[in-house]
């Protein structure tokens, strides 16, 4: 954490930093040139009673030169910028997929499980037992791994496509060290991709105003070697396992309820 430079990068998006540096130098030179020239004019042409300003309303040649040079400077920033944007929107084939779900005011994560494919989901299916709204009949979803209230883990070194979903309002998943971000929009699935390049634990911050808890919508991401990541993933429960446990739990609850003769709704929605 040097106060003299921006936050050190931990992903493949060094290109973005480079584009910033190109922009900084081109615009910096123009800024200094304009300010110095203004200062020169103000000093050199201060008011004197016995002098008159030059009368030369236009100078076509000068104006064309300035326009041309500006256009060149602008192109020199835009072209590398668009080149990098092309990389940003095209996910490399074979990228691993993970999903981040935002809701007021917490993050949850989903991994596709052994089959590498995520099951379908729908906001309408969300309930206390099924907080991600996964389609219980989709075979692809059965082995999905759901993480709630815990850190996100990412493996080092390979490209990852981050799918983004929100179930209530806009949010934005951002890790300053990754440089990449995208809003999460209810009703849409958005995405960005990155390759984590540095192991460590980084802050996740919500970067789109999402209500009074916006500033408190934080999380952590642990970037670790592939083996460590695989080990961690193994220990997590799959969707099918969770559903089975929930079902068992609610049957027990129902039996208990019957015994006690008090009506308890199975799977009542927790209120936060």
């Amino acid at each position: 954490m040097s106060p003299w430079w921006w936050t050190p990068i931990a992903s493949n998006w060094g290109f973005i930093d480079n584009t910033i540096i190109i922009t900084f130098w081109i615009t910096g030179v123009v800024f200094v040139a304009v300010i110095l020239f203004t200062a020169y004019c103000v000093l050199r042409y201060r008011y004197r009673e016995d002098r008159r300003a030059e009368y030369e309303p236009e100078d076509k040649k000068l104006e064309w030169w300035l326009t041309g040079l500006t256009a060149v400077g602008v192109a020199a920033m835009l072209i590398p910028g668009l080149f990098v944007w092309n990389q940003y929107v095209n996910v490399p084939p074979g990228a691993a997929e993970i999903e981040v779900v935002g809701q007021q005011w917490q993050w949850s994560y989903r991994y596709p499980g052994k089959d590498g494919v995520m099951g379908t989901s729908d906001t309408r299916l969300i309930s206390g037992d099924n907080p991600f709204g996964l389609n219980p009949n989709d075979p692809n979803g059965q082995d999905d791994v759901l993480i709630e209230g815990d850190d996100l883990h990412l493996p080092l070194g390979g490209p990852i496509k981050v799918l983004l979903r929100s179930i209530d309002v806009l949010h934005d998943f951002y890790v300053p060290q990754f440089r990449a971000k995208m809003d999460m929009v209810p009703g849409l699935v958005t995405y960005f991709w990155l390759t984590p390049t540095r192991p460590g634990t980084f802050d996740i911050l919500c970067f789109e105003l999402c209500g009074v808890g916006h500033h408190a919508m934080r999380g952590s991401v642990v970037v670790e070697k592939k083996e460590a990541f695989d080990g961690w993933l193994q220990e997590q429960e799959t969707f099918a396992q969770t559903m089975a446990r929930v079902k068992q739990g609610s049957e027990q609850a129902a039996n208990l309820a019957l015994n006690a003769a008090t009506p308890v709704a199975a799977g009542a929605r927790p209120t936060r």
Binding site: I16, T27, G28, V42, W85, V169, G187, F202, L205, H215
Partner: protein
């Protein structure tokens, strides 16, 4: 060959349309309160805008106190903070700057500078102000309803804006939407007036290419506003319906706090398109009048013509047109189709070219000029520096991939404050120092003005320069508090405290300005009709301040552009627009209003 923009003509054809009928007030009430005189309406607009602007300034102190000294002020809770930023942002952009530039300066300057007796629809013009006042009152009322004003951010993004997780979702958001709708209705009445007056009520000889750039800026901004505000209007109406009647224009299927909501099928991104289709031109609605005015300030006080006048006019028009095809640069990371990024980054960076030309031409106006460092000139120079700074950070944010890490950080806050906060405000101050003598017949006090300038200008830099750096670190905007992170060095806290102290000082310095305005009204040095020895028509009125109907018995006749400073062969270093060519070499500027300036036929 006569070059229509720059060369004088010695014959101006007689008028085709007769003089307009003026409404003559019959009582004190119709003269000073329900006045139909554009000059009175201008002052009403200006006072109201500045008064509500003071509210926004106080709100900015509250926000800065929280950011500089978190966990110190128990009266600023998270809800309050979000309400403060929302109201601060909306008031500053719409109710202060838009109203002041168009309703204030537009009303005062358009008739005077084009040589008209008044706006063409004076009654509608009056209504425009009263509806604006109503909009302001409705907005203020939201501070007093249960739940308080909305805290949705000035962008009012749904679904958040109308859901219960956001402060003010009970009544505040509705009052905000209603107030915006009223503002737009009121503005439209005024705006049609400004456009028609510029197009139809120019005096004899005042061709479009002889208009002062102030008028070009205000005129183009008004056209933009008339085309852009309807998008906000329909957005506001649709959101009101979503909130009140449960429609789903902007609302997809939502589960909030574990509850399935009745909404379904709408699109939050649609609102963002509507908002920014208005919101981006809005930046230029504020900027173009500032561009125009500052061109005139620089020219008058550097005693030199505007350099490249025709290119300046075209740059204003081109910027205005392009401003309708760049809106989605505010939405690079909104989740819209990412392929749009290529298009909008390209258009956005293209707009930098005409904008840069304007900057070059301002500086080239100074070059080989005869520069007086008067108060308006100081503010104009401050504007150039600030605007170049803000324009340059715009090139960062416009270049789509650079925007990815910087969007929604303090860098954005720094950028838009420089470019559409500080820069236009500096022009507002410069313009007030410049035209106050015309409005009151007295000069503003110079030492007070200098204190005001240096504290405001240096202070603004001390406040907003550090925010660029915080943005590069990754400090988000709209954060009530940061608490501990792994990427923000300790020193950033000290920096934040420093910024807050400066913000308070800059705020207090504005009191010097307000005091100056009041004090000079009584004690200021008498200015005479044309203290700056300027050329445009408002300085050539029969009386100062100009009376009802602006000019003497006959309207002035215009022989040349507004920038005949340092004209070779002229006796004085300036030649008023309405001075007859025969008088130029003799330099008799005594009375150019009315009859003295009849064309010799």
């Amino acid at each position: 060959m006569v070059d229509a923009a720059h060369d004088q003509v010695d014959f101006v054809p007689p008028a085709e349309v007769g003089e307009m009928e003026l409404y003559h007030p019959k009582s004190w009430l119709t003269k000073y309160v329900f006045s139909q005189d554009a000059k009175v309406i201008a002052i009403q607009y200006s006072f109201t805008a500045i008064a509500i602007g003071m509210v926004a300034l106080v709100l900015s102190w509250m926000m800065r106190l929280q950011l500089g000294f978190p966990e110190t002020f128990s009266f600023i809770e998270a809800e309050d903070y979000y309400q403060f930023i929302t109201m601060h942002g909306m008031i500053m952009v719409i109710y202060l700057l838009t109203a002041l530039f168009l309703g204030g300066f537009g009303n005062y300057l358009i008739p005077l500078m084009v040589g008209a007796r008044d706006m063409v629809f004076p009654y509608v013009n009056m209504l425009s102000y009263w509806i604006y006042l109503l909009a302001v009152l409705v907005l203020l009322a939201s501070f007093f309803v249960p739940g308080g004003p909305t805290g949705a951010g000035w962008t009012l993004y749904p679904p958040q804006a109308i859901l219960s997780g956001t402060p003010g979702s009970e009544g505040g958001i509705l009052l905000m939407l209603i107030s915006l709708a009223l503002f737009i209705v009121g503005f439209t009445m005024g705006g049609l007036n400004y456009v028609v007056t510029v197009l139809q009520a120019r005096t004899r000889g005042m061709t479009l290419m002889r208009l002062p750039l102030t008028i070009w800026g205000i005129f183009t901004a008004t056209v933009l506003a008339l085309l852009a505000f309807p998008a906000l209007f329909v957005g506001a109406v649709m959101m009101t319906l979503d909130r009140m009647l449960g429609t789903s224009f902007f609302m997809p299927g939502i589960v909030q706090f574990g509850e399935q909501m009745q909404y379904g099928g709408g699109s939050p991104v649609l609102f963002q398109h509507l908002f920014w289709f208005f919101g981006h031109p809005e930046v230029y609605i504020v900027a173009l009048p500032a561009f125009g005015i500052v061109s005139d300030l620089i020219s008058v006080h550097a005693r030199r013509h505007v350099f490249g006048y025709r290119l300046m006019v075209w740059a204003i028009v081109i910027i205005g047109a392009l401003s309708f095809v760049v809106w989605a640069h505010h939405m690079y990371v909104s989740g819209m189709n990412p392929w749009f990024g290529f298009f909008f980054a390209t258009t956005t960076l293209i707009i930098a070219v005409p904008t840069a030309i304007k900057v070059y031409n301002w500086v080239l106006t100074l070059w080989r000029g005869n520069i007086k460092l008067t108060l308006p000139m100081l503010f104009a120079l401050g504007f150039i520096v600030t605007f170049v700074n803000g324009g340059i950070t715009g090139l960062f944010l416009g270049n789509v991939v650079v925007d990815v890490p910087l969007s929604d950080t303090m860098f954005v806050v720094a950028h838009f404050h420089m470019v559409m906060g500080v820069a236009p405000i500096l022009v507002v101050f410069g313009a007030i120092y410049h035209w106050y003598p015309k409005m009151t017949g007295r000069m503003l006090n110079v030492p007070m003005g200098q204190i005001h300038f240096w504290i405001t200008f240096l202070g603004a830099y001390a406040i907003f320069l550090p925010l660029h750096y915080l943005g590069f670190l990754g400090v988000p905007r709209r954060y009530y508090e940061m608490t501990d992170t792994s990427f923000i060095p300790q020193s950033a806290e000290t920096l934040n405290a420093f910024v807050t102290v400066i913000a308070l000082i800059v705020g207090v310095a504005q009191l010097v300005f307000l005091f100056n305005i009041g004090w000079s009204m009584v004690k200021g040095k008498k200015s005479g009709p044309n203290p700056w020895r300027a050329t445009s028509l408002e300085w050539q009125t029969a009386t100062t301040p100009p009376g009802h109907g602006n000019f003497g018995p006959t309207l002035p006749v215009v022989y040349r552009w507004a920038y005949a400073f340092g004209l070779p062969g002229a006796k004085d270093d300036y030649v008023p627009q309405n001075m007859h060519p025969d008088q130029v070499a003799i330099g008799d500027t005594a009375d150019l209003s009315g009859t003295a300036a009849q064309p010799a036929e």
